[in-house]
């Protein structure tokens, strides 16, 4: 029987989607052997109001730690508290999200407990006493199957791999206190800045919409800005020709002599695909090309290409993305 501990990440008093994914993953593992799922959530007083949601996604028990010291991420106190709960819980598996918070927290807990940890897990399977996980290595070019023999086995799941699925369980709320004094932590998060329309950096944006000579002039980059805005998490880049012409600032250049990027999605608009440009973006996970010349080299590296007039295609794509985003 495999009991599983799931760390349900919260931010600003709300559960994060990846927290639900952790509970979903935990439920799956537990169900393989008829085990139970303990979900853990911590935050400022009031965060426990969301405990019911964790029950909906499969938590048998929801451990709620409410403390003013947990309003913002408090790595040292949180790690101590989680480690204490895990130590006393006889869990086979402990699941964290592979998020900025989870990636910071999980190794602290693993070190405290002296157990094995694998982050960025894309698949989980129990095998006797061990846990077998899938974990992409070498920037995703190789998939490793990794065995964790420790009890418990700690993992961090990759975002978007375990789609939250409702599976209501009791979700008995169990209140708990922090271990140690949260206000005595040495590492203190002083301030958190979220979104706020700050321009996404090309190196960090999950989506990049990039334009080349085909845009014909600086004024037409509005089309790309609109498309980027429709994605919400996109930045606008450009080719060397464009920055040389002064249509966009030099800092926007993507390519060998500019920024080297590899976002989840790269949309190349009116870009022929010179070697200097390809060298800077070809490792992007998914590449879309829109170009009027079907012989353009960009189509050789693109996963999906549309041949045609970008001035017609881009506005339609923008509208479609907007609609898809509003639905999803």
């Amino acid at each position: 029987m495999a009991n599983v501990f799931a760390f349900a990440e919260t931010r600003n008093g709300d559960l994060r989607k990846i927290g639900l994914e952790a509970v979903t993953a935990a439920r799956k593992v537990a169900d393989e052997t008829g085990g139970t799922v303990d979900a853990f959530m911590a935050g400022a007083p009031g965060v426990g109001a969301h405990a019911g949601q964790l029950a909906t996604y499969g938590a048998d028990t929801v451990i709620v730690v409410e403390n003013a010291g947990f309003e913002k991420y408090n790595p040292e106190a949180l790690a101590a508290t989680v480690a204490e709960r895990v130590r006393g819980g006889n869990y086979r598996v402990v699941i964290f999200p592979t998020s900025a918070l989870g990636s910071d927290l999980a190794p602290r807990v693993a070190a405290k407990l002296g157990v094995g940890l694998v982050m960025d897990v894309t698949g989980i399977k129990l095998d006797g006493n061990a846990l077998i996980v899938q974990h992409p290595v070498n920037i995703g070019k190789v998939i490793a199957t990794v065995k964790i023999a420790s009890q418990p086995a700690l993992i961090g799941i990759r975002a978007n791999m375990f789609t939250p699925a409702e599976k209501p369980h009791a979700g008995t709320v169990e209140r708990a206190e922090p271990v140690g004094d949260p206000s005595a932590s040495r590492v203190v998060v002083k301030e958190v800045k979220l979104g706020g329309g700050a321009k996404l950096d090309l190196g960090e944006a999950p989506v990049i919409v990039s334009g080349g000579r085909g845009l014909k002039g600086p004024e037409n980059f509005k089309l790309l800005e609109d498309l980027a805005a429709a994605f919400g998490n996109a930045a606008v880049g450009a080719t060397r020709v464009v920055t040389d012409e002064g249509w966009r600032p030099h800092s926007d250049q993507i390519g060998q002599t500019g920024r080297l990027v590899s976002p989840q999605l790269y949309i190349a608009v009116g870009i022929s695909g010179a070697i200097q440009h390809l060298a800077g973006m070809r490792t992007s996970r998914t590449i879309v090309a829109i170009n009027k010349d079907k012989e353009a080299p960009i189509f050789k590296v693109a996963d999906y290409g549309i041949v045609g007039d970008l001035f017609e295609i881009v506005p339609v794509l923008t509208a479609a993305v907007k609609e898809a985003k509003s639905r999803g």
Partner: protein, 693 residues
Amino acid sequence: MTVGHGMFILIVVLSLAFFSYNAQRLIRYMMSIGQPEIRTGHPLTRIKNLFLVGLAQKKILRDAVAGPLHASVFWGFVVLTIGTAEIIAQGLFPGFTYAAILPAPLYAFYILSQELFAVLVLAAVGMLLYRRIVVKPRRLQGDKVHSGDAILILSMIGALMVSLITLGAFGFALHPDSSTIFQPVSLAVSHLLGGLSAGTLELGRETSWWFHALLILVFLNYLPYSKHLHVLTSLPNTYLSNTSGPGVKGAMSYMDLEAEGTEQFGASDVTQLGWKSLLDSYSCTECGRCTAVCPANITGKLLSPRKIMINTRQRLMELAPLATGDFGEFEHHALVAGEGGGAGDASVSAALANTLLDNYITEEELWSCTSCRACVEECPVSIDQLDIINELRRDLVLMESRFPPEIQPAFESLERNGSPWAFDPGDRAKWAEGMDIPTMAEMVDRGERPEVLFWVGCMGSFDDRAKKIAVAFARVLQAANVKFAILGQEEKCNGDPARRMGNEYLYQMLARDNIETLDRYGVETIVTNCPHCFHQIGNEYPQLGGNYDVIHHSTYIEKLMDENRLPLNGEGKALTVAYHDSCYLGRYNDVYEAPRETLKRALPMMTLVEPPRNHSKGLCCGAGGGRMWMEESVGKRINLERTEELLATGADVLAVACPFCMTMIGDGVKAQDSSVPVLDISEVISQQLGHHS
């Protein structure tokens, strides 16, 4: 001995002593400040250069206007120096004349030559002054170019000529019986003096003689304080130069990275340059021909090869007196006016703290260089401006790791992937898939040897456009039944980008890897469509022990045509084609005709047109010297300047013979919204392939 005679002897002795002092001082500065270099080998080549470039003024004559004018002055000077010797000898040994030692016809020829060249020089000096003062060509302009110096020198030369004529004329007027038709100008002028008294005529003759003789001595002693020092240094400089051989044209100097105790790589100051670079700086006349042909300068960048030379000289003159203990000379600078900034009147401590790099020549200038070699090609006195630029770049990279940030990825990819772009080396041979082209490894496995190795290069391997060139050339080879192989994954960048960007360490790493691979397969003959690979492997690998017969594809295709191995269909439209010369093919290797010839033979109905700048005067595409991997944000883009020129010929097709030129000119054509195709010569040939009849 008269008082005048005694005085003259004294003046000659004093002025020669002063001149000798300055001459030894300049030589001492050069030899003690500069690094040792051996420049005495291959005397026959050096003598040839001395005759062609020095005496025959081959390079001076590249400028159709100033060329003949300067050549006139030069040849005049050579001829008139014989007369000058006579005049000085007369001063020392009164009554001396060549007539006493020469047979009459030869003496007559001698005096006629003096007359004619005096007039020729006078005419040329007049025109040069007019040019300098009225026309003011752009290349003679510079921030602090010594125009006053030039006018002074030209005036002195003019005055020497005038006094030479008046000397003869007063003499003939005084003693009409001595008149000779072999001095026609003096004779003509003497008729104008008919009315003057004997006393006046004698005074005129005496004055002319003294004026002429003294001016010669003044001129001689002025030279070490003037850019006109070239009058003395240009011939030795040409003799000692390697810019037209001996050795390989344009090859960067060998650098021993393993040498014990070496702590300086490249040069950041004049003390780290070879003495020949310092002699080059003495020899610069600030004519600006180098700067006028510099693609960076033409398009508005900071680089000026002339300034590199002037400022090298300025720095030498600032540092050398201090370094050699000539503190007195430090106080009154000679030859120190620099062009565009520089330190100038520095205190001793500032002068010691200064360096050529940064205080006189900035990073920005150095990184603008495309290494196109146009400056070196143009310099009438065989100065090697590029050598200084290369040495300073080496210091920047090897000693200080200072370079435009955008080339770091290129360095890192070269190190990790053996290509300036971060592509998988495993994909090198992808362009050849389905073409049945064996790799060297495969061929050796079958126990066979190729006729030639096709060196594809990184562009041909990874650049989509250049891959088509590789395919076209491979088709040409296949059509001619040439048994060839490629290295595939085992090929690495030849190292030229790293070397030209100053990264000798990385260059040698790549070159040694390639040499190891080539030698392992016993490769002897290599053909390549990339002029950079061609130049580097053929001309610079021997420095590291790699000796191969490397042939550019243009030459190789021409050879296949000569041997009737290429089945051409002989068809073709009446096209107009403009060919763009690659620097590393042309100026570095003198391959000008093979690409043109192959085009003509493949397209019998074609008309070949030339842009205004062609052959050895061809304008760079802008990609050389590592510029391919750098930003070009100052001024006009070089590739645009060149493309406009090529398109203005009205050609239907632009032909190139280098994959880097292809990128630059191709981009230029796109930027012009033109649809004129840019083709590599091998693509033109491959389109004309037919069947052997």
